[in-house]
Chain length 211, copies 2
Amino acid sequence: MGNPVDEPVDDEIGIDWRRLEDVELTPILAASLDAFYELGYHGTTVREVARRVGVTVPALYYHHDSKEGLLIALLELSTADVLTRANAADRDGGDDPLRRLANVIEAIVLRMTNRARLASLEGEVRYLSDENRQRYRAVRKGVEEVVLRVVQAGAASGDFTVEDPAETTRALLGMCQSIPRWYHAEGTLSPEEVAAKYVAIAMKTVGVQPK
Amino acid sequence: MGNPVDEPVDDEIGIDWRRLEDVELTPILAASLDAFYELGYHGTTVREVARRVGVTVPALYYHHDSKEGLLIALLELSTADVLTRANAADRDGGDDPLRRLANVIEAIVLRMTNRARLASLEGEVRYLSDENRQRYRAVRKGVEEVVLRVVQAGAASGDFTVEDPAETTRALLGMCQSIPRWYHAEGTLSPEEVAAKYVAIAMKTVGVQPK
């Protein structure tokens, strides 16, 4: 019943983690993402989002109770998406820590490159209320835990040489998370090429030398 | 005339790159930094900055010609500061690529941790006008070039094993740049402890195994 090696489809949740379809956003969330990206969270008003969607302000409030609610909805959707993909990528690596790490980094980088705009909302998290920031951080912690689990597995099996798994995990996530900053600016590489480069760098970072 | 090993003072420009005094900001720039950090760039008005400093709006415009001018001034100051320190740290490493990289990563991480608020302004760069963004990116490119120069030197000398020096440089900077995102949230580690951890991780990333 195991997945064949070249078949990344994860039956358990029915997703192909290597395939990034256009992310499904409601018209209101799509307009919010555009506005937050162009004007910043503080520069965006609920009125502006309503104008872009072509609905009245009360109609918008029917679906989302505040501007913060719009940001939360986008952040949760974005983080849940990367968490699902990272978990599927991890499982798809079976028992091999090298393959698991390569898959997880690939999944994260594919998402950072294909969805740079959504990924860059991360910068607005500090404007959330304490309660919402905690809630969001808990979801994001899930992504960190996937990477940490793999790094620890590789350290335990002797495949990786890692002094501080938690800090190495943050460094790996940090290098991936900074991709949206430059990816659009340059852009001669495809998402798959960027992913392959970061997989190679991540392997080094956990002490695996190229063969 | 060479510097003794434990003396990081760089005589050429007279700075001790390991010592981060309080960054010297004019009252207007200090108030701008506070406002941008709390309210975001778009959420900040020139009037708000003037109110915080206790000057009139025309008085503020006498020094800075726009809100964008305030952001530019802070970004340039911040980037010039890290560039100066990174260059001093590099020179202080002499001809040894390992020591050079350790110094440069230490200098960058010390700045990210000690000046997390200033460093986090980076997220506002996308709101700059095209011309100002280009100008700012040119300065920032200088920091990238310091790291790239060291990575290339280590690759050439055989001390490092690096397939793609440019991408490895971006990954190293990415891991350092993401520090302000979590550093304040947790904060049981001193800046020096964080720097030491990132130096160790960076060494791995360029293929140097711990002894």
